[in-house]
Amino acid sequence: MLLTLALACTSAPGTGDSAPAPDITLTAAPAFDPLAGPALTWTLSGEDAKADAPGEIRGEDGEVVRSKVLPALGWDGKDDDGKYVGTGTYTLAVGAEERERTAPVALVRAGVLAAYAEDDDGVTATRVPLYWHQKRHTQDLDDPFVTVEAIDDASGVVVLPAVGEGLNVPATDAAEPVAYPYDSRPIVSLTLGATSTLGAAHLGDVPLHLSIPGWTVLGDTPLADGAVVTLQKDEPLGTTLGVSEEPLVATVSATDDAGTAWPVATIEVPWRAYRLLGPPTFEQTDDERYNPWVAAVDPALRALEGTTPTHDATLDALVRWVFEDGGLSYDTVSGASAYTVYVQGDWARANFQMTSFLSRKFGLTVNCTDCAGIMVSYGNMLGAEVDYAIIGWNFNLDYILAIGGTEFDHCPFGDYGCGFSYHAVTTDIDNALIWDATLALDGDEDPTSLPSTERLVQSVPSDEYLERLVLPPTTASYVYQAQGTLQ
């Protein structure tokens, strides 16, 4: 039993026929949780009321639990020995003899034991499971994203743990991040339960309500211990790509007979939601790894925070992030791939070693195939469907600025030679547009000579890309297109 209710009511003792009863009305919160909300407060009103009159707290058998409580301080839920009392119904008594007024108050423990992030199969919300790559594990959407594992006897108060900071494996005793398309309206279910060892919850007759600003409670959700309250966000998660991580602040309140709502408890539910463009767009779905990796989408979406949620804008932003902020440099010795292998000698079967890339196991020097692997992996994880394309073969170059470089050059290998034997880029399904994080093009009218104007390869028409990359009379064309695999 989680939340205890009690009627907010006042009473006056019998006064007989000799004199009118003093005009005093006691108004008190019908329920309160001293561990998670404000102290019990009350007011005395009426012509004969003495507003600062002290009161006392009595137990169910009438015994005095706390001999003196002042309206200015309220009752903190402790007895005369300074110890928290258990949950239950108590009586607040203020004044003496015919001036005494009493009110029952329920001392409750309001808390959340677990929280679930849910969806409605894409009608208004689609939750996307995240992949923990070092554990080779995808989130089970039926599991809570945060839970109270144990109640600590020492503190007496338990709060839900914060979202873990680790990106490779889920942290112990931490909340997990969740992911939704940016335009989803997430659904969250909270399992209610006492989060304290200071006594079991107790239900009374006063209705308790749980609310979160900007969220609507779905269905009939009586607040009882173990009950589940389901809420849905009123507005979409966001209007851009990024990360939403403000805690969900749930307020429990009690309503008295006069219809006045009294705050009982405030509960913070940790929340980190990745705002994706959409569900992952990998062709392969037969392995858990083709879900968004926490270690990939977390830094990517922080870098892409505020990006317009369109396919092209997402890839444009990825190109800028990888090219300008990835800390990578082009292999000007040989143009060798550090993180990609074409399986079985097949240009259409590139396998990107993403796990190793995330730890930069093989260094920061990359080539076009690696950059294409990065773009394909991150793009499809974020929901922007993209392939890699191979441009062949053996062609000379216009002026380019290689990733990590500082000067435009048409001989990226210096004394070792000019030109590419091939080049890998990323493209949309129709091969209409090109994205390339390996290099920037010369964007001016004459890409064949200096000076050059940097143009990132963002949504560049595929024909124009070749014109700006390949130095005549050599020629090149798109010869393979695929998504490849990742590990």
Binding site: S334, G335, A336, S337, Q353, Q487
Partner: protein, 158 residues
């Protein structure tokens, strides 16, 4: 079993002449011998008999093929996956090689190594010298790869 293979390979690791011919089939380098070659923990490439391991200043990519003819095809394809057109070079113990001091691709029989890093040619030669002739029965070390059971040479178990 790994210890036995390491013992058998001791002469090769020490730089002794290798008796294998071009037509011999090699099993690869025992994974247990990689530290002696200053190589780090290998990563096995899904769907292949290939692994990549950190090396001083770079990395090593080691590809195993069933026979020398397939190895030769693998060599040519591997050379084509670097964007620079590499010149022919020599690597001690190799049947053929391309590249230079900082990146080299070399083949010995059915195995191909691509080395990027410091003294790439010397590292490639040391790896080729450590290639073991196929023992017929492979030592089973499934924990090498959490996805695919592999033998002690990093090859997928059939």
């Amino acid at each position: 079993m790994i210890s036995l293979f390491t013992l058998l390979l001791a002469p090769a690791l020490a730089g002794a002449p290798v008796a294998a011919t071009k037509t011999q089939t090699f099993a690869g380098v025992p994974v247990s011998a990689l530290p002696a070659l200053s190589l780090g923990e290998p990563e096995f490439i899904d769907g292949t008999d290939t692994w990549r391991a950190p090396a001083p200043g770079g990395w090593v990519l080691h590809a195993w093929s069933a026979d020398a003819a397939e190895g030769a095809r693998s060599f040519r394809f591997t050379a084509s996956t670097v964007q620079r057109m590499l010149p022919t070079t020599t690597v001690r113990g190799a049947d053929e090689a391309v590249g230079g001091d900082e990146l080299v691709i070399a083949r010995r029989g059915n195995v191909v190594v691509q080395v990027k890093g410091d003294h790439a040619r010397d590292t490639a030669a040391a790896i080729l010298a450590a290639e073991a002739t196929d023992p017929g029965v492979s030592p089973v070390v499934p924990e090498l790869d959490p996805v695919t059971p592999r033998d002690g040479f990093g090859r997928r178990l059939k």
